[in-house]
Symmetry: C2
Subunit: 383 residues, 2 copies
């Protein structure tokens, strides 16, 4: 279930499953002897950062409350400058979104409008499976969706994606999620360099780097390099929802050439950045200790899970993000339901890749709890 | 200067005028003997609620910080239900926006897309002057803009607006801001009833009621009445930015028939509601004492300003909002600049209505400070 479907699911809303009960709970993080319970479930389904936000981000929000009755212009402008500085770019290279979700939406809307003005066709070329927001935003606009299945090793079939673009009579929007969601796998810069480095009026790349801050594999280089070279037919999206643990506060951004940014900005909603998110993002960017701690914690969590998966003989994809894609013995829907019955929410299957599940890496303590349940499942022949 | 231009104004951002200095200040509210200063300017330019948010809203945000690393689904669902209850409607009648700004944007985008699918023309029929976001969102989509000037008494020329719609070959999106911004004047329900009450495939109404909570004039009835009657060709937008003092936290909503809501929702960004804004909005809706206090405070502020304007002989429009539109002797730009030099930001002129300025009603203490400056200006022949 994608997040838009999740939100729409009236049974979920009506049942109160997702309402206050869970909202007011935090998963027990300290007592790793306790198994997940109805009161303290493990929420390993939406790639959130279970550490919670930086204490400095919390303080920044509390400090900002007395003036949050004003429009968010000042905090927004400061954040824009801080992000620009981070990449040694100007603020004209940065577009802040209400989450990178809105940046992706505005980009798709801008391109669909451009295609209409030019009187040409438009398609979205997207790997399958991948994060599906570009697709969800394309559908109501009548953009043709061209899905290219992952290769057998779960990597992108870049050759077929490029063919799909060059065979199309019109504008191709190419969505590249790096590391990819749900596989957590990196696509090396060397494989992207030639295609993404080519300026074209008929191909536009949305490179979604939501999980880039977790990557340690040196073969990954941010596509922001292309922006720095002045290329105009791409936008790189980033978010504060992942390593910065601000998913609830909705701050993401796009990095692109100034002409591209100003075109995207026309399709963002005005005043789109909330003050709480902006000041938290500013504080989080500066809190290098928190970022290092998040990265280290995620690496420990990954090792805990990888060790258990290896022990029970379940294959997994090489993760460079805060989640891991692993095989499940038997039907994934049944596995997912049984995990839910054991108060562990484990993500989901991503067809057309069947037999694999995406699991969010929570805190090491959470993952130790998960491993206990996983091993119990294995003994029962459920995993 | 509209807010989008304001945000884009690089000189403003670069100069630091609007940055940390103002952001970390609150206007002196207690010592009404002090005149506005560079350190404590009066910000009476964006129709914010200078009282600041409800203490209960602040507490709700602080309570929510430990779980704000999660996506905002739960708080969003609860807010949706609370708004629905407020109007005795179902949650399928409500669409939450990232401010009502996003609701207006999504509505315009949805309608432009619909017109494209139907292969027909689309225009925006908008009074002039009025709040211009519907226009700003229409422009990049190539929607034709048809502006109908206000009548001499500053009321809407509904007859000409209706003519413009019926003479148009295609879909007319009619924007009605009630009370209108910048005049703060109410359009009586009796004048809207016939036109807005007519179901049509070729006319769609966006009724922006951002300031409705300030209205006491019984001739105003919310257009939500039409939604309750099952009418599908309109959306009523509301916001938490005004009486609820949450402008920085970006929460607004639309009320419409379920079919209309689901069409609009396709054009909202996914996960568009931040947790801080959602929990603050939930708490604010329940804090009837705060709402009553805001209303009372605004009424006192309005009386303070009306009395001063009357004393110095400056005409004003009958205000039913948290701002007032008044005449200025001489050029408004000069007046505005001189006020800025005196550390009072007073809004602006809204051509084609010239010689009038929009002034936000801050706290009574702020308005007493403003009146002192205004009277000094009058003595100098500046107002």
């Amino acid at each position: 279930m994608d997040r838009r479907s999740f939100l729409k699911s009236s049974s979920l809303v009506a049942s109160g499953f997702a309402l206050n009960s869970l909202f007011n709970q935090s998963v027990a993080q300290t007592n790793n002897a306790i198994l997940p319970s109805k009161k303290h479930p493990l929420l390993l389904n939406f790639n959130e950062n279970s550490l919670g936000m930086s204490p400095k981000a919390k303080d920044a929000i509390i400090q900002a409350l007395p003036t949050a009755f004003r429009y968010p212009d000042d905090a927004r402008a400061e954040l824009l400058n801080n992000i620009a500085e981070l990449y040694n770019l100007s603020d004209k290279h940065i577009s802040i979104g209400n989450g990178s979700s809105e940046t992706i939406q505005a980009t798709v809307a801008m391109l669909a409008n451009k295609a209409k003005q030019r009187g040409i066709n438009i398609q979205l070329v997207t790997p399958d499976p991948t994060f599906n927001y570009a697709e969800l935003y394309s559908l109501p606009l009548g953009v043709k969706i061209t899905k290219i299945p992952l290769k057998a090793d779960l990597s992108f079939d870049l050759e077929k994606m490029e063919q799909a673009a060059s065979n199309f009579d019109g504008l191709s929007v190419v969505y590249i999620c790096n590391p990819n969601n749900p596989t957590a796998m990196v696509t090396p810069y060397s494989q992207l360099e030639k295609w993404l480095g080519t300026q074209s009026d008929n191909v536009f790349f949305i490179v979604d780097e939501a999980y880039a801050e977790f990557v340690e594999d040196p073969s990954f280089i941010s596509a922001i390099e292309f922006v720095k070279k002045g290329q105009e037919n791409l936008v790189v999206t980033r978010t504060f929802s992942k390593i910065f643990a601000l998913a609830g506060l909705r701050v993401g951004y796009g990095v692109a050439a100034p002409n591209t940014i100003s075109a995207i900005d026309e399709f963002l909603s005005i005043d789109n950045t909330n003050t709480a998110g902006a000041v938290a993002a500013i504080a989080s960017l500066k809190d290098k200790t928190f970022i290092a701690h998040s990265l280290k914690s995620n690496n420990i969590s990954r090792k805990i899970v990888e060790k258990a998966l290896t022990e029970i003989g379940l294959e997994y994809a090489p993760s460079q993000a805060n989640f891991i894609f692993h095989k499940v013995n038997g039907d994934v829907k049944t596995y997912k339901q049984r995990m839910a019955d054991a108060n562990v929410m484990v993500g989901r299957e991503f067809p057309p890749v069947v037999g694999w599940n995406r699991l969010t890496l929570g805190t090491p303590e959470e993952m130790e709890q998960f491993v206990i349940v996983l091993k119990q499942f294995h003994e029962k022949g459920w995993a």
